[in-house]
Amino acid sequence: MGRIRIIPVLLLDKGGLYKTVNFKNPIYIGDPINSVKIFNEKEADELLLLDYRASIEKRGPNFAKIAEIAGEAFMPMAYGGGIRTLDEAKQVFDSGFEKVVLNSILFDDLSLVQKIGATYGAQAVVGCIDFKQNLFGGKRVYGLSGSKKSSYTPLQWAKKLEDSGVGEIMINSIEKDGTWGGYSLDVISEVSHSVKIPVIACGGAGSSDDLKAAVKAGASAVAAGSLFVFQKKGMGVLISFPSALQIRI
């Protein structure tokens, strides 16, 4: 194996960055421009910026803000949050992002994937799957920041997204979000081995061992929030990124 692709996830809201636990209780992290500059210096592999309240608040992307953020980033950038049309996706690409992340809109309009892919290529579209497990172990995918339950299991929805033409799937456990307890390796393994496109693991990473475990389970890339913006669990803000040595497997 070569390098693991490691992706810090930054949650944007009202111009600031936040970090949630189980998609709730946002803690203020800081100014996005400063954070991006630090990730430049630390040579992060890629950044994923999510305006995580956009769809639930029925807003589109904050184009001025995200263009300002992308203007400072010399690494690949993905943006998600509130994109509902090809034109909105185009504005995101024009501001300097390589990829768009689609989630809630896909329950209403799967054809948006093809529309964006036809112009920008499949690799530019990431399908994000947020899922929760119920008391009996059944897993279901949720839209609108974890507030709207669908009838799909993560595997069913992943297959559907792959068929719709997304270039990559990000699989995010709502229950693991912000917990530092490790990824949902069973779901990551199940999905990665059932699709032919790269899978990004997200939700729960608390150490570099967790990142390695996700790759062993089949993930092509690993994403994390808390691990890269806090010193430790329950402690203050510290932007960090593992060095190349720490992440070789």
Partner: protein, 203 residues
Amino acid sequence: MIAIINYGLGNLTSIQNMCRRLGLEAVITDDPQIISDASKLILPGVGHFKRGMENLHRSGLKPLLDDLVLEKKKPILGICLGAQLMTKHSQEGDVDGLGWVDASTVRFDQSKDNSMKVPHMGWSEIAITSQNPLWSDLPAEPRFYFVHTYHFLFSEQEEVSATCYHSYDFACAFKKNNIYGTQFHPEKSHKFGMRILENFNKL
């Protein structure tokens, strides 16, 4: 001055952002006069090959670019799709390209490795196979950001300047006279990419 050619596809802003950071003068343009006056050209691009060629034809820029690149020998750097467009033909959309280099653009062959993920996406180290000014003073273990489903296939290996590995070795950069191409994205590759853009500006 570097002209970043705008034919309606791609990562134009990112390239200009990195040029600005490096203090290089770069404009995003589809104006034939500005393109003719520029000392260097960048042909960017992200997206579908067929759409890329259609846009180049529709913009009317193709004859101008042929003249500037093949006759006037103006240095040009193709990035990702922009570099693929310089080949003779692509499997993506089964259309002819600009034909400036002796190569075609083909899809990653997943039949060679069942576990191979396509697109090839992420950071990869490259192996330099022939020296040229773009590679001077690269930081150690040069790595670059890739995201692509198709790659160059050269008939003449001497035009290949670097290779990369994704289930198998493929050509990831080329140089033919004044024509440079990279499959990877220098504008998204931190200090490694910055060095390449600086080197290109010095040509």
